[in-house]
Amino acid sequence: MVATSWGRLKGQETASIPIFWRHELPELIRRVDGPLLAHGLGRSYGDSCLIEQGQLLLMSPMQKLRWFDTDQGVISCEAGISFAELLDIVVPRGWFVPVTPGTKFVTLGGAIANDVHGKNHHKRGTIGRHIRELELLRSDGEARVCSPSQETELFRATIGGLGLTGVITWATLELIPIRSALIDMESIKTHDLEDFFSLEDDSAEQFEYTVSWIDCMAKGARRGRGLFLRGNHAKEGHPAPEYAAQSQWKVSVPCDAPGWLLNPWSIRIFNEIYYHKQRRRYVTSRTALDPFFYPLDMILHWNRLYGKRGLLQYQCVLPPDRKDELRQLFDVIAASGQGSFLAVIKKFGDLPSPGLLSFPREGYTLTLDFCQLGSRSQQLFRTLDRMVIEAGGRLYPAKDALMSAQTFQAGYPQWQELKRHIDPKFQSAFWKRVSSS
């Protein structure tokens, strides 16, 4: 079988072993020759979920709950459970995941291994902060229960540890209470980046969720114009019936789109329409969970829109005082003409990430999709990488397919420390690429 990442990066022909039962794992891991890597739903864009000359342990069939304390809002489940499934279980009972990435088709284990963040980073930090306990299975067959107070070093290494420290078999997650399955949201049309900066700072206190879509094709005075979204869980309501009424209709991109579909002109037209669709500066609405948190999940296989070549995503974070460098990033991207319709910016708060290799830190994070244009993409990314590293920032491994070992090591000086905790049988294509000297 050939596993594929979300950016359509193909792994080598690898054996994949679906895992159905927790108790079969220790024997299996001991028996098979490495290298190994646990693989969830393959939503990482680059090669962090792939392996060269090894075997993938497919974790998604392992999705049983261990227990669910519906009074305290704490749930313990196997690592292969998806956020989609988790929400189906917890939302009707008045709970919500404390942190969610922009797709619900990720596994709990994958979310921990990448220490994912969401639109509420300024309030709750990363998912790792809400993991009470997890079980890590090592290739010596030993199962180690790690938490902030037990096996702390291994816990820190496993949160954001990209699956290299062993297999996460189950984890216990602390949920947040909700009184409604709806979101009260405001969409504000922004003129430029300054507008965005001040809105972010004004909203951080009162809003659980904030994020901004940016028209990355706009240049000059309109640089950074976009739509700023902020929202809260509705204060009163009835989670179960509200959630049951939320439509699960999805459309699917049935096959690869032709390579020319997304080009500078079509994207410019899309961005123009998307920006001007909202006429007034403020629009408030009450919306379901999916359109607010997971708008792209409604289009199954949306990565096929980028054609056979696939897509590249670029996500970086810059320290909060590096706004000038952030403006320059936008200039370089707009000038390159390679930008795409997905460009998102958000300000991370100062809550520390628990993982040794966690990506989020205080500052501005910028996420962009690009068509895979081979050497042109590489050239642009190299320029961006240099600017990010010089500004004291770093890139997100879950999104990356191209960064050099130097870029990675400069962004994550603590990477050597992780090496001590890596399980000798575990490896990933990403790690092979960035840990070489």
Binding site: M1, P18, F20, W21, R22, H23, P61, K64, L65, R66, W67, F68, I75, C77, D88, I89
Partner: protein, 250 residues
């Protein structure tokens, strides 16, 4: 069925991928579940899962369903403990390796015992209870493979054909008692049973199949192809004239 009432559901072969996914849906509706399977650890994991998902009550029983004696004991035990049964789901069976099966009639016999004799034994034992209570549903996992024997898996297919025919007769027989008999014919489903096969675009998730099963039970249906397109695929396969069909190696 009335969703407000707590359903009592018995599942034989509960650790199979499809049964497990169906049990999870029923658990979310607050059902009482009685699970039978061979592996104690799997049963215990599953019981925890179902309780956490909202099952009102979960009982487990370890039994090897290829043993006539253990089947009998398990059935008697359930019949003693539970007075009323809303759904009996039979979800056990083996796929077997066709290449080995055609050369080894002992293997074939074992396959027929587990895929045909054991379900028939279970149904025979539960049948009086369903007749007495004048209602409920006997749901049996057969397969699209039983619709027409194909070169690649006709040993398995013929066992499922027997089961399908049995259920069809049973349905007619129990009609007057108001008992529903549901023959479930899944296509390829991504479970432990098929993990060694290539994953094609027709491969469905056990969750999809389970959703269809729970709905078909609620709607009182008697035959379910799942996912839906298999009804049409099998129709074409059944209609293929012999001179074409016999050349196919699928």
């Amino acid at each position: 069925m009335n969703p407000a009432r707590v359903e009592s559901i018995v599942i034989m072969g509960a650790s199979s991928g499809i049964a497990m996914a169906a049990a999870q849906r029923w658990a979310a509706q607050g059902s009482r579940l009685y699970l039978v399977a061979r592996d104690a650890q799997k049963l215990s994991d599953l019981a925890h899962d179902l309780r956490a998902r909202g099952a009102t009550h979960v009982e487990i029983q370890v039994a090897d369903l290829s043993s006539e004696k253990q089947v009998e004991e398990a059935c008697l035990h359930i019949l003693q403990r539970w007075m009323h049964i809303d759904v009996l789901l039979l979800a056990f069976g083996i796929l077997g390796d066709q290449q080995k099966l055609v050369h080894d009639h002992h293997l074939c016999r074992r396959l027929y015992e587990l895929n045909v004799s054991a379900p028939v034994q279970v149904i025979n034992m539960f049948r009086p209870r369903f007749q007495e209570q004048r209602g409920g549903c006997i749901a049996v996992l057969s397969s699209v493979a039983g619709d027409r024997g194909r070169a690649s898996n006709y040993v398995y297919g013929s066992s499922k054909a027997a089961l399908t025919a049995y259920c069809s007769g049973l349905k007619a027989d129990l009609q007057t008692y108001g008992v529903q008999v549901l023959t479930i014919k899944p296509g390829m489903v991504a479970t432990a049973m098929t993990a060694h096969l290539p994953q094609g675009p027709l491969m469905a998730s056990p969750q999809t199949v389970a959703r269809d099963i729970v709905r078909a039970v609620d709607q009182g249906r008697s035959v379910l192809y799942t996912p839906w397109f298999w009804r049409w695929i099998m129709l074409v396969i059944k209609l293929l004239p012999g001179f074409i069909f016999n050349r196919l190696r699928f």
